[in-house]
């Protein structure tokens, strides 16, 4: 091997000189230097390690709370009151954007940096419970005077219960209902919104007849899985079978509901391409769309866009049912829950904070801050909620909401598979039969791990 000095020898003289000087210098200090150097490196590494652990080792009376989106932004305003009631306790609120929330929470758990209390979309509770990241709250609830099961909507509470154990406390709730243009429906002869599937279809037909071709009675986007699942549930479809370990989307019931919705798109009663609709509220204002099944987050936007003449032209209604037997038909139990990290060292304080956020007063205040619908039923007695004409439909709907299958794989099943096959059928690439057969195959593949876990546990 040619060594460094002989290579240097081939360089021009001044370079050689500099290099030689450097090598001499290097020789004289090398032993000291290498020691210093490793010391430096080591201290740097340990410093960075200690910095990254710093978050956890904050004072014993500070609890960390992660909340998403608007909640993360505005919940800060609720904290001073809590700190006043509980002198010495501090709450550090961290806002996490919704789009990155799941990633961040899972990585926080993996690196043992989970916040003491955090907000979870209630469909995420099964995932975090499977991770073993969140505390079983049964014993805490037993001791509590604030948090009692009967204070909550039944369907919503149930989303947090896994194998009979409670893992989260509902914080705010949402569900899907029908938003509609009052005047357009009235023109089509529907002074009251449709209460059955037949009426919904008939109403859409009649509206379409009165509209120019580029306008649509209803919006059923294929990149929103919720309506497909809701209508499936209304048709009594059992979405998964054998202890949620196999797909059951080929069932007669689900296929019936699925085709019913796809037909709206096929018969041009709903737009096919999702990219045509960039602003749903603007589309409503222009009568481009006249019915839409969606959640409470739309209320404020509708109020913002539907002004002047249009202000009283829109309304909300509970969902129609498959048959007229029971109204409203079932909808989804959505919303967010508060959960406690199983690794928290300050569980007492964390629970105190959860209780504080669950008091009727604070629930109403959260509504005032960001219009999150209260999970605690008492809060709905407040005049600000009671007098809002758009909320009545929600309150009625909450009496009949159910949880989606509570397994960690559910989100993948609906977001990546159901939406995909809805699009395939709507665009005519597949028939409903073919799509649901493929759907079940995909779902069964996704659930393979779950079946293995079940068989191992038995």
């Amino acid at each position: 091997m040619k060594n460094l000095s002989s290579r240097i020898a081939n360089r021009p003289r001044f370079v050689k000189q500099i290099n030689a000087d450097f090598i001499n210098l290097w020789r004289s200090v090398s032993s000291v230097k290498s020691a210093c150097y490793f010391l430096f490196l080591f201290s740097f590494l340990s410093l960075s390690l200690s910095l990254s652990c710093n978050k956890k080792s904050s004072s014993k009376t500070e609890i960390s709370f992660w909340a998403m989106g608007a909640e993360g932004e505005f919940v800060q305003k609720l904290v001073p009151e809590f700190e006043k009631q509980n002198p010495g306790i501090k709450v550090k609120v961290q806002m996490v954007p919704w789009t990155a929330a799941q990633e961040k929470l899972v990585t926080a758990y993996a690196s043992d940096n989970s916040p003491d209390v955090y907000q979870l979309g209630n469909t995420w509770v099964p995932q975090f419970s499977a991770l073993g990241a969140i505390e079983n709250l049964d014993s805490w609830i037993q001791k509590s005077s604030t948090i009692k099961r009967e204070k909550y909507f039944e369907g919503i509470w149930d989303t947090n219960v896994l194998d009979g154990k409670v893992y989260g406390i509902p914080w705010y709730v949402d569900t899907r209902i029908l938003f509609y243009r009052k005047d357009v429906l009235a023109k089509a002869g529907y002074s009251v919104p449709p209460k059955t599937w037949d009426e919904l279809y008939d109403c859409s037909k009649k509206i379409k007849a009165k509209l120019p071709a580029e306008k649509y009675p209803i919006y059923i986007p294929t990149n929103e899985w919720a309506p497909f699942v809701i209508f499936g549930l209304q048709a009594n479809a059992q979405l998964l079978k054998n202890n949620n370990s196999y797909g059951n989307f080929q069932s007669k019931e689900f296929q019936y509901a699925f085709s019913y919705l796809i037909n709206f798109i096929k018969q041009d009663l709903a737009p096919m391409s999702v990219s045509q609709v960039t602003n749903i509220y603007q589309a409503f204002a222009g009568e481009y769309l006249n019915m839409y099944i969606s959640g409470p987050w739309n209320i404020n936007e509708f109020k913002k866009w539907m002004t002047g003449d249009l202000a009283d032209k829109w309304m909300t209604a509970p969902l129609p049912n498959m048959s007229g037997v029971k109204y409203p038909g079932v909808s989804l139990a959505g919303g967010s829950s508060l959960v406690m990290s199983g690794h928290s060292k300050k569980k007492e304080l964390a629970w105190k904070f959860i209780e504080y956020l669950s008091t009727t007063k604070i629930q109403v205040e959260l509504y005032h801050l960001i219009n999150d619908l209260p999970a605690v039923k008492d809060a709905w007695e407040d005049t600000s909620l009671k007098d809002d004409i758009y909320l009545e439909a929600f309150y009625d709907q909450f009496q009949n909401v159910v949880a989606t299958p509570k397994i960690p794989e559910w989100e993948q099943i609906v977001f990546s598979k159901l939406q995909q096959y809805a699009e395939y059928t709507a665009r005519g690439v597949m028939t409903v039969d073919e799509a649901m057969k493929a759907m079940d195959q995909d779902v069964n593949k996704i659930l393979e791990k779950r079946r293995w876990m079940i068989s191992r546990n038995n």
């Binding site: 020789r27 758990y109 990149n223 990219s275 960039t278 960690p408 977001f415 990546s416 699009e423």
Partner: protein, 296 residues
């Protein structure tokens, strides 16, 4: 002996930190990803390692039976094959234009063409989504002057990928252009003088002098472009989320979805290694072809 010892010390001193960083932040993750690709590591395993199983090659065999993987692969190849040569051609063309003696304010042109490269991709993608909007978009507005009916660029299964290709080429050609300009400036001018004296036309000069002299540059650019384009992600992620009908779903996007949305880490790692293998193969083939062209 002593000097050799010193060499080792010097090596450790100069290369040590970088090697350590590469080892910790590159080698270890890559190795563990390789191991993970033979397991079914997922959300259950993240909580409890005993829930992970060694499943040998099953991730890989499953991958080859997965229709979505093939769709993603086809889309990615479609993108690379369409956008790669197009990007190289456009950047060569613009480099030639900017290198022409007639052009004034070369600096300003270079800057403008280079701007998209340094602009945040996310911002660019959002602006282009507006440009492609079926009802309010600039592109459809311009096309209306030549009486072309509005196209739902990103919502139409046929046009979505070409729309993304167009945007990516626009975004990237500036970088290659700068390298081409450097390459052009390295061609000795006496070659052109000699050719002119011999009466060679512009086209003959281009074919017999410019192109051969640019061969190493072209190899470099096409390699870099290909490697970059195989990792197509942010453009469809922002603009189409892989739709319509999965026509813009790319391999990396599929990998991301499987790994970081659904937490199927094992499967996602397997996708990563297949992608690595494809890029590796592509690079080898490209180098061989270029070598052959050079000697031919």
């Amino acid at each position: 002996m002593n000097s050799r010892n010193n060499n080792v010390k010097a090596l450790v001193f100069f290369l040590g930190p970088a090697m350590l960083a590469i080892f910790v932040f590159f080698c270890i993750p890559v190795l563990s990803a390789f191991v993970i690709s033979f397991t079914d590591f997922d959300i259950y395993s993240l909580g409890n390692f005993s829930n992970a199983r060694f499943i040998g090659l099953r991730n890989y065999t499953q991958l080859f039976e997965d229709p979505l993987f093939w769709i993603a692969l086809r889309n990615t190849f479609f993108f690379v094959i369409l956008a790669g040569p197009l990007s190289v051609a456009v950047s060569l063309f613009s480099a030639l234009l900017l290198n022409a003696k007639l052009v004034k304010f070369k600096g300003i042109f270079r800057l403008t063409y280079f701007m998209p490269v340094v602009t945040t991709l996310i911002a660019v993608a959002i602006v282009w989504r507006f440009i492609y909007h079926p009802r309010f978009g600039l592109l459809n507005y311009l096309l209306s002057f030549i009486h072309i009916n509005p196209v739902d660029w990103l919502g139409n299964p046929f046009w979505a990928m070409p729309a993304i290709v167009l945007m990516s080429v626009w975004k990237n050609f500036g970088y290659n252009m700068i390298i081409f300009i450097a390459g052009l400036n390295n061609i000795p001018s006496d070659l052109y003088e000699a050719a002119t004296i011999e009466g060679a036309s512009w086209w003959q000069q281009f074919r017999s002098i410019t192109l051969p002299m640019l061969a190493p540059t072209t190899l470099f650019i096409s390699l870099i472009t290909m490697i970059g384009y195989f990792q197509l992600f942010a453009e469809p992620y922002i603009m189409t989320q892989g739709g319509p009908l999965n026509k813009t779903l790319s391999i990396v996007q599929y990998l991301y979805q499987e790994g970081f949305r659904w937490w199927n880490m094992g499967y996602s790692a397997a996708i990563a290694f297949v992608l690595f293998f494809i890029i590796f193969l592509g690079s080898v083939i490209q180098t061989l072809v270029q070598k052959k062209l050079k000697h031919a």
